[in-house]
């Protein structure tokens, strides 16, 4: 379990930079279809910003700010967005993730529909990657004990 850092310099710099890192991550996700980057890279940056906060401000602060079950729910929602867009294309008569078919629902040209479809899929990928990165880091730092497992935690402490 990681406690809050004693180093005032690292703590303050992290405090100031975390919002900008998070916005940069969202920028990378949202501009994935124009420039290098995309859902995976942006999601990793977003997860890294949370890991930075966890290293510097400690477990309790991060648990209060981003509860693990909410983040995991976001991960599931990301998968749902990805699969939902793919299946919608399938239902509209195209292939899986054939975004051109979305033009029927969105009432735009097929090219524009492809752009929007990729954006939605990248959003889903970004959510999921962020949630999984955060969850892995959280699990490693807590030694695999989930936040709800207070009883198990106590038993482990009793045993040694």
């Amino acid at each position: 379990m990681i406690a809050s850092s004693d180093d005032i310099i690292i703590k303050t710099i992290a405090r100031i930079f975390v919002p900008f890192i998070q916005l940069y991550a969202l920028y990378v996700i949202m501009h994935g279809h124009y420039s290098p980057g995309g859902g995976f890279q942006g999601g990793v940056i977003l997860g890294a910003s949370m890991a930075l906060l966890l290293i510097t401000h400690g477990y309790d602060e991060v648990k209060r700010r981003f509860p693990e079950n909410v983040v995991l729910l976001m991960g599931s929602v990301g998968v749902l967005i990805y699969a939902g867009i793919g299946l919608t294309c399938l239902l509209l008569g195209g292939n899986y993730l054939d975004y051109g078919q979305l033009s029927v629902i969105l009432h735009v040209e097929p090219a524009h529909a492809r752009s929007l479809g990729i954006l939605g899929v990248e959003l889903g990928v970004g959510f999921t990657v962020m949630a999984i990165m955060y969850s892995i880091f959280f699990d490693i730092s807590t030694g695999g004990i989930l936040p709800g497992d207070d009883k198990l935690n106590g038993e482990l402490e009793d045993n040694g």
């Binding site: 940069y24 969202l26 920028y27 501009h31």
Partner: protein, 240 residues
Amino acid sequence: MEVTLFIHAADDAFRILENAKVQAVGLLDTATRLTSETRWMEEKKVQGILKGAQATRSGFQNFFATFVMLLAFWALLSGKFDTFHLSLGVICSLIVAYLSHDLLFANVRVGDGRVIAQRFLFYIPWLLREIVTANFYVAYLALSPRMPIDPQIITFRTKLESDISWVALANSITLTPGTITIDIENREFIVHALDRKVAGDLDTGEMEDRVAHIFMEADHIYIQDVLDVSRVFAALKRGM
């Protein structure tokens, strides 16, 4: 007859005295009430000054300031100003501002932001000049054949009060060649210096004074002085 007259006169005198006493007590009462009222008002004024100095922004002000800064950062990154991308930027900035509005402005007092930004901009050229001169000095140390270095670790206690000013001072020291901030522990700066002259330059405390000026720590001390004087004054008045 004369005796009764005398008794009447004495009665009158008594009554007058009684009246005078009642009036005097009333006057004293009003006087004490007035002083306590004025004292209360003064204390309220002092508390107002204190609160104005220490009040931080409300949650919404923090949120809005963070949102504006993040939106500017987004515009800088994105460079696309059509409605779609701008609305994406607004949504993303709102989300991030909601998640971390209490991270960016943790210890900023009301109304300080613009002054701090302006003073910080004026601080940068001075810091650059310091860096260049220190660069030449370190180059001289490294290039001279005897290499007259005298590495030492110095500690000094800072008068700065907020974490952001500690970090600004520590990073300024690290940016200047020849000195590196190792750690800050309980307001003690632990600094590694390459040479006696470099350490002496740091000991003059000019950099610390300038950082204190940026983050209005001096104004803070000024208000503290006013409070101390007013407390002494109130104690004196109570004594009188």
